[in-house]
Symmetry: C2
Subunit: 167 residues, 2 copies
Amino acid sequence: MSGEVRWLTEAEQETWRAYMTANVEFSAYIDRQMRRDSGMPMAYYEILVRLSEADGRCLRMSELARASLSSRSRLSHAVSALEKTGWVTRRPADGDRRGWVCELTDAGYAALAAAAPGHVTAVREKLFDVLTPEQLDALRDIGRAISAGLRQECDAAAAEGCEEEPC
Amino acid sequence: MSGEVRWLTEAEQETWRAYMTANVEFSAYIDRQMRRDSGMPMAYYEILVRLSEADGRCLRMSELARASLSSRSRLSHAVSALEKTGWVTRRPADGDRRGWVCELTDAGYAALAAAAPGHVTAVREKLFDVLTPEQLDALRDIGRAISAGLRQECDAAAAEGCEEEPC
DNA sequence: CCACATAGCTTGAGAGTTCAACCACCCCTA
DNA sequence: TAGGGGTGGTTGAACTCTCAAGCTATGTGG
């Protein structure tokens, strides 16, 4: 590949380890709380939230996938499951006969409303209550920077004409 | 429950969303890189790393579970899989006849050595290269604070005699 | 207007995770 | 020393996720 590997220094390893450990533990905690108290994984809750925020409480599958940070495949399986519990419905999109629209049902909204308090409380206690305002500001900027760095993948290559592998 | 829910403000929602999005996207990217280039999920890589750092390249199952941020059950399944590929072996622990010791094999060490460069490169490019030194320092402290907050769960209750639910 | 590439979404199979038992053993106490 | 609770670890089933097709519909160059 492209030259030598830039290994992590001791200090960098500590940072990396602290970040990664917190990530794993925190998301495990949040996901566990959601499963235990509301019987659904966080990924499903995320889908319901995105739908509830959308106009008419419905979204095209592809948009819902992007909004809920999910792959098309994953979303498809998840929506099938949510359909079985009666929390969403699926209908053909008008205009493009390939597309489908997913809509949050009243039962789905009720489930979301029931799950929200416990979830928000967990997030507040385990994130906002343990960090200073300065740390929270920093965390927001850090999060944005990381996301931006990940997105710029093919963007950069595409902008330059994609000399390397096609994206 | 204990009073009203402390909902998130607009600003807090932005912070939460930025943090959570970065987490999901980043860990998905790292895990995907590992699966694609080395044929194992990050959780397995983590197990191999912890073993490689241990004395004699072996650890008790319970210690390995803690070190690799994994539940007992998950580790048990994972080690079964890693045993099949020949990357680790399991043998009874001496002293405690309930216990088992997991040991990294030479093949396992080779697999780890092969996987490390790609992994470290991904982490450097997508984390260390996109953040400033100040942000990295902040991230380390933030990570520690979050982990500490999660750990203090039953600790506090236990210290006070656990008046509420038994842990 | 006909290929042919691409977009939108689904499906099936295999892999990994979670949860709730479960077994075997250790340790403490009566 | 027998009972009983706690620890170490495994197992199976249900569930979720990933990957690689696959299928239908759109759009585009000839």
